[in-house]
Amino acid sequence: MKRKVIHPAPTERELTGPRYWRSLDELADTPGFREHLEREFPQGASNLDGVDRRQFFKLMAASFALGGIGLAGCRRPESYILPYGKSVEGLVPGLPLYFATAMPLRKSAIPLLAETHQGRPTKLEGNPTYAPHGGASSLLAQASVLDLYDPDRATAHTKNGAGLDVAGLNDLLASIGKNYSAAGGAGLAFLADESSSPTRAALVARLKAKFPKAIWAEYEPVQDEPPIMAAQAAFGQAVKPLYQFAKARRIVSLDCDFLAAESGSLYYSREFAKGRRVRTKDDEMNRLYVAESGFTITGGMADHRLRLASSHMVLLAAALASRITSNSDYAKFAEGLDVDPKWLDACADDLLANKGTSLVVAGAHQPAIVHVLAYAINAALGNIGETVDFVAVEPSGAATLADLAPAITAGQVKTLVILGGNPAYNAPADLEFATLLKNVPEVIRYGGYVDETSQLAGVHIAAAHYLESWGDARTVDGTIVPVQPMILPLFGGLTEIEVLARIAGEPTVDPYALVFNTITKIAGGDAQAAFNKLLHDGLLENSAYEKIPVEFSALRTGSLFASASKPAVFSKASLEVRFAADYKVDDGRFVNNGWLQECPDPITRLTWDNAILISPRLAKELGVDPKGSLFQVARRELADFDKGNENAFIAEVTVGGRKVRGPLHIQPGLSNYTIVLPLGYGRSAVGHVGLGTGFNAYLVRTSDASEFVPGATITVTSERMILANTQEHWSMEGRDLVREDNFDDFQRNPGYVHAIGLEAHSPPIYGEDGANMTPAERAAEGPKIRGNSLYVTPEFTGPQQWGMSIDLNTCTGCNACVVACQAENNIPIVGKDQVSRGREMHWIRIDRYYSSGSADNNDIPEDPQASVQPVACSQCELAPCEMVCPVNATVHDEEGLNVMAYNRCIGTRYCANNCPYKVRRFNYFDWNKRSIGHFYEGPLGPDGMPELLKMVKNPEVTIRIRGVMEKCTYCVQRIEGAKIQHKVKVAQAGDPADIVLPDGAVRTACQQACPVEAIVFGNILNPDSAVSKAKAQEQDYALLAYLNTRPRTTYLGKLRNPNPAMPDYTVPLSRKELQQHNGTPAEGEGSGDDKSPGDPNAVAPAAKIGGSS
């Protein structure tokens, strides 16, 4: 399905004609005809939101070309198009083309394939050529295509508020270079965000050579890579670690969210899943120890999770190091650590027993000393070169914001060029960056949005989105990847390298040429061929950072320990504040992205807002503990709910005299006295989407305490605000939804999932023999299968039967699938108000449950286990929704899909009521026609979607009108597309009977995005397909199977691998609750020492029930 095709240059003929005309009027180009054309355009086209109509039409030239107006508007200027073969290779009108590009983010990048329809990118996929990611992509990458079409982007270059044309801008940029060249750049300063682009690095080097006195500073509010300084101290070299999680059998994370927040998280997730995945009882499974202050995605996957303040992580690291290395200094350093020594001993023993196959990782936000300790442990365990490699990185040599600030204060900076970032919003509060900028006579700002920083700058240069830019970047392992434009800049934005090249007075300012020159120099050989291959593959082979051997020396690190101070002890009066980048809006740069805003936070499930996260203990002490109702039948909620909306108290956090106000959210699993403040919200100068979302935690973040800070206080006000939380209830209520077991019990009892479900007590779902039949055979057997039902089963006569398997053991809950589905299936966003009314439209959602291990205790658990479960339409073979639809709008096809006929749906919503999985979504309003905030105005409100946003829609998926039901289709458009393609192929090969798609020919959007390959989709009739193999595993079970819905999506049970020697060893807490709930005692309750965990007799012998054929 993937074809990577290089844009050919247009031929002379394409550029100029042939000219078609619709009437003689058009040929004559009479005013009357022009007027007629105007009138034909959609209502309101002349007052587009944010986009000049005329300009928009220019940009939409491609569609004009198809519309038959002629190719005169076709914009394929020669200079932008790459050389080509002979013809437009593979271009079939109506079919998408895929081009390789990459999304740069800080010091790494995610290689991507962009799906383009008629010249507009609509969907991004991971580039499968880049092996470490294996075609996966992240939440942010999935959502970034929406930013391209954001009508709130900076649409023009401006100078003092007035428009600046391209020529004027070019003159201005050139004049900077000219003005400062004489003084060697004195008075000129740059403040850029981090980048891995080799081209930018080269330009910066040349810039520095030309302006030796200029200041080049870089600032990123969020660190996602271990500090080079730590490696310098430990190894004496500028290296960075690259973890090989697949090889690690024991992993200890010291406040390290390597599955989501670290720069290599996509690669790490994938590798971690390799060590986590269990197919048979003979497989091995890694064990993850996580110590953390907040609750992260990584913490949710932990087998042993230790809640510990971030400041105390250094003590924990030292305590572990003292047990693992022979260095006695560490033990002394670890004094004051409030952790059960048994925990530490057992953890250390486990690591020591796995020398060379263990791994200790420290969070990027942790100070160098923690990283040094982690390196020390890894070195002592012989992990270096095994589970962790060190690669050489070039130090950027850039100054920091702290270096730049005094220069500005001293008046040494006359011209400041701010490239990207948004320092006025996210610089440390103590620098008072906004005030600082007033000391600079000329501020030139290059950015994609007119944001807080732009408002303080005289000149704003509109930046191009990466999908509009030529560029390059390096992935986490250093592989060079191209950033290739999919479309001309919609708003005439410039690329960063062009701006730099113009300031530097480079002879070449064309970004394409700049990238070409840089890459071909690195690649060597035939420049053109190498570059073409780069663009085709989406990466430069063998360009990864060099792995270099390192030697840990404790001697070098002595000074670090000498200068380290003892962390404080925390209490209600002296709290720790931890600043963390938000999972969705990152450091604030994605705050105007509706898909991300509406995507529930993987842990809190909040949308459209951030919240001050506090532990249940602190909540109790603050008196904000939700009371619950008089007779509590389900577990108490995490917050008071007002008509189903989280009604959060507003609290004020004071850190070092600075205050910030925000809503409180009680987060189980937090370190008792750590408050987590998610960054990135509360922007003041932002587009329509991000406006008014969340609070700005940067207000209390200072340069000396940018990651976590002690001594904070919190006061709770009586004010309240509504938070849009997509999951009101956190407990599984002792139900058999996520079926969990410990790995050691699983090895004895691999079919455990079948013994703990409600269906274990019902007659076999598929009858006595049905389990071994194909769906078609079962359908033919009909009523005999079970219960002599009168109803006719759909026949399932198709040559292939679709099914899906979701591995709960590897799913981290990262949400990439949720947004991938949104992008693929044109799922609208509905806004905070509608989300809080329970009307979010996601076709796949991730349920997150906490378990405390006690079904009777109504309290909010302080130390829960989290279990996540992606739920989309299960495509039930006996679908309850189909039975109740009065108009036959939802029916089955012969390949097992439960299909929705939107045109037939009248919207009784009966199907949604009768869906036990609650995956059907109703169009309560015209989400696509009306705009957020105006839904209730109906036809009197403004027509919604800006034309620009329509461009991101996938043309292969219908936009749903109000009043119809929608749901997951297993990406039926992809299935049908693949079928057509296969048909064409086999017809050419002369075997038209071959109508079965090869395994893997169709990948659903969620499956394709999933970094941990938890989702497997395919033909369940083929016993060799990946999905059949997954479903054949013993831990395969169907959610709510006892209802006899026979879902085609089944789950693989979740496994935890706790260490029996640990004091907190326990059977999975959700399992415990389930057994308490159902009256059977939990095995191995309490400490694992006194009772053999998972006695095979404790649960009924596994009977294979249901599952796939």
């Binding site: 109702s629 008089l630 007779f631 509590q632 039948v633 389900a634 008509k643 189903g644 999951q727 009101e728 209830h729 407990s731 599984m732 209520e733 002792g734 139900r735 939804l737 409600l758 009314r837 329970g838 009307r839 349920d847 449950y849 479960q869 739920v871 309850p880 039975m883 109740v884 639809c885 009065p886 108009v887 036959n888 037939r904 749906c905 009248i906 919207g907 009784t908 919503r909 009966y910 949604a912 009521n913 009768n914 036990p916 999985y917 609650k918 059907r920 109703f922 309560y924 309003f925 015209d926 839904f935 209730y936 109906g938 036809p939 009108i961 109000r962 009043g963 709510l1040 209802l1043 159902n1078």
Partner: protein
């Protein structure tokens, strides 16, 4: 019509020996009113000058009805989102109101048809207005399922009309059954009502002095000339319609209950629903009859026609059906426990003690406790109290539907999807407005049509009895 007293003529001799105490039958028309008085009394209601209070009531009712009209205009123009529905509570007040009104509509046909077949003569005083109430309640009920759909302009998809798409209706869906059940019920109820009214319309025609009334009633009376042949055909038609209507009384609410019972949602998926819904419907129907007839009785001084005996009978039926409903509530709990399905068990515990417990206990109070007061004669004789209690019954039955629909949906299988539904103002006003719609129709009814079947009432008076005034013993 045969008379029970006739039977005494051929009574076995033993009766004379044992000499059973003579139990006087309560009179159905008090004060020994004459035929003429009855005709005058009932016709006069339609013939008199429109009373001022009527205009006031009509004005208020129109105003209230406009809430429904505007609510529906807003709904259709903007989307179902103007109501408070959400995932997972995709049905709420719309279907609650539908079932509520349909339930109310049950008493009329029950009184007309079943009591007719059972020869319960006391039905004559109340059957006309109860039938009218049925029809108007069905009108109100029909508003909700029609307008609650997302795309009302395609609501005709529900009907099996030939079309080029070759898409047929799904006859497995209880909603499709509803379409037929409710429309049949509505049609038969109208016919029954109208057929029963024909002799009285003829009376009004004959008495009319104004031209348009003569035409109006003349057309409606369809040439009724009071001949024996007419009467003979009329009685037969009425009996057949009663026979047709009787199963409908049971079927409509059974099928409405299938909307829930046939689904798999815990709290809905319950086999007790059909009888329980029918009992509840009769309960609410009688509650509504009482609510309407008592003021009517007071305003038009109809105490002689709607006697204490009538009220007693209605109170007793309310008591009986209310107790049945209470039994059903208890049985639901028992089965949920006995069935040992944890999801089922939770659904019921959650009803009583979960976030919607307030609604549940309102329901229990109004539906189970209130009717128990009718055990006491003093209560039954206290007309204002009966009227208040009848309102309690109406409220309780509305809450019963709310409890069944909303609480079951709000917390079903997956706790991750649990939610709490609360109505929007639009919903509240739309529902409120249907009382206006109902009142408008009912006011028009009492203004223009004979609110009581004169012919039938006369038939149950002592004067109609050929042995009237004679001593049989």
């Amino acid at each position: 019509m045969s008379h029970i007293e006739d039977a005494t003529a051929e009574a076995p001799a033993i009766l004379a020996e044992v000499a059973p105490a003579h139990l006087p039958r309560p009179v159905l028309v008090a004060n020994n009113r004459s035929f003429g008085w009855i005709t005058e009394k009932i016709c006069n209601i339609a013939e008199e000058k429109t009373p001022v209070w009527w205009w006031w009531c009509f004005g208020v009712a129109c105003f209230v009805a406009s809430f429904t009209v505007f609510g529906l205009i807003y709904l259709v123009s903007t989307g179902v989102g103007v109501w408070g529905h959400r995932n997972p509570v995709n049905w709420a007040w719309d279907i609650v109101n539908f079932v509520f009104w349909i339930g109310i509509g049950h008493a009329g046909t029950l009184i007309s048809a079943i009591l007719c077949l059972l020869r319960q003569k006391w039905r004559t005083s109340i059957n006309r207005s109860a039938e009218a109430m049925t029809i108007f309640a069905v009108v109100c009920a029909a508003i909700f399922p029609v307008f609650h759909v997302g795309r009302i302009w395609y609501a005709w998809f529900l009907f099996p009309l030939p079309n080029s798409n070759l898409v047929w209706q799904n006859f497995r869906s209880p909603l499709e059954w509803d379409v037929f059940a409710v429309s049949t019920y509505g049609t038969v109820s109208v016919l029954f009502w109208y057929v029963g009214m024909v002799p009285d319309l003829a009376t009004l025609r004959d008495r009319a002095v104004i031209k348009w009334k003569q035409i109006f009633y003349g057309v409606l009376a369809m040439g009724w000339r009071n001949s024996s042949r007419h009467w003979s055909n009329y009685e037969m038609a009425y009996l057949i319609l009663a026979g047709i209507s009787t199963p409908l009384v049971l079927s409509v609410h059974t099928i409405v209950s299938f909307d829930f019972a046939v689904s798999l949602i815990p709290g809905w998926h319950t086999t007790i629903f059909p009888p329980y819904f029918v009992a509840g419907a009769i309960f609410s129907g009688f509650g509504m009859v009482l609510t309407l007839i008592l003021p009517l009785r007071a305003v038009y001084r109809l105490e002689d026609l709607v006697t204490q005996y009538h009220i007693d009978c209605m109170c007793k039926i309310t008591l009986a059906t209310g107790t049945m409903v209470g039994y059903a509530y208890a049985m639901e709990f028992f089965i949920a426990w006995y069935g040992a399905n944890p999801n089922e068990g939770f659904a019921f515990i959650n009803r009583a003690f979960g976030p919607y417990a307030w609604a549940y206990w309102i329901m229990i109070t109004c539906n189970v406790i209130t009717p128990q007061l009718f055990w006491f004669k003093k209560v039954r004789q206290n007309i204002p109290l009966v009227w208040i209690l009848s309102i309690f019954v109406n409220v309780g039955m509305w809450f019963e539907r709310f409890v069944i629909i909303a609480t079951s949906l709000a917390r079903d299988f997956l706790p991750s999807s649990w939610g709490y539904y609360s109505p929007s103002f639009v919903e509240i006003f739309t529902f409120f407005g249907t009382f206006g719609v109902f009142s408008v129709l009912f006011l028009l009814f009492i203004r223009f049509l004979p609110i009581m079947p004169m012919a039938e009432i006369k038939a149950v008076t002592p004067q109609a009895d050929p042995h009237s005034g004679h001593d049989h013993h």
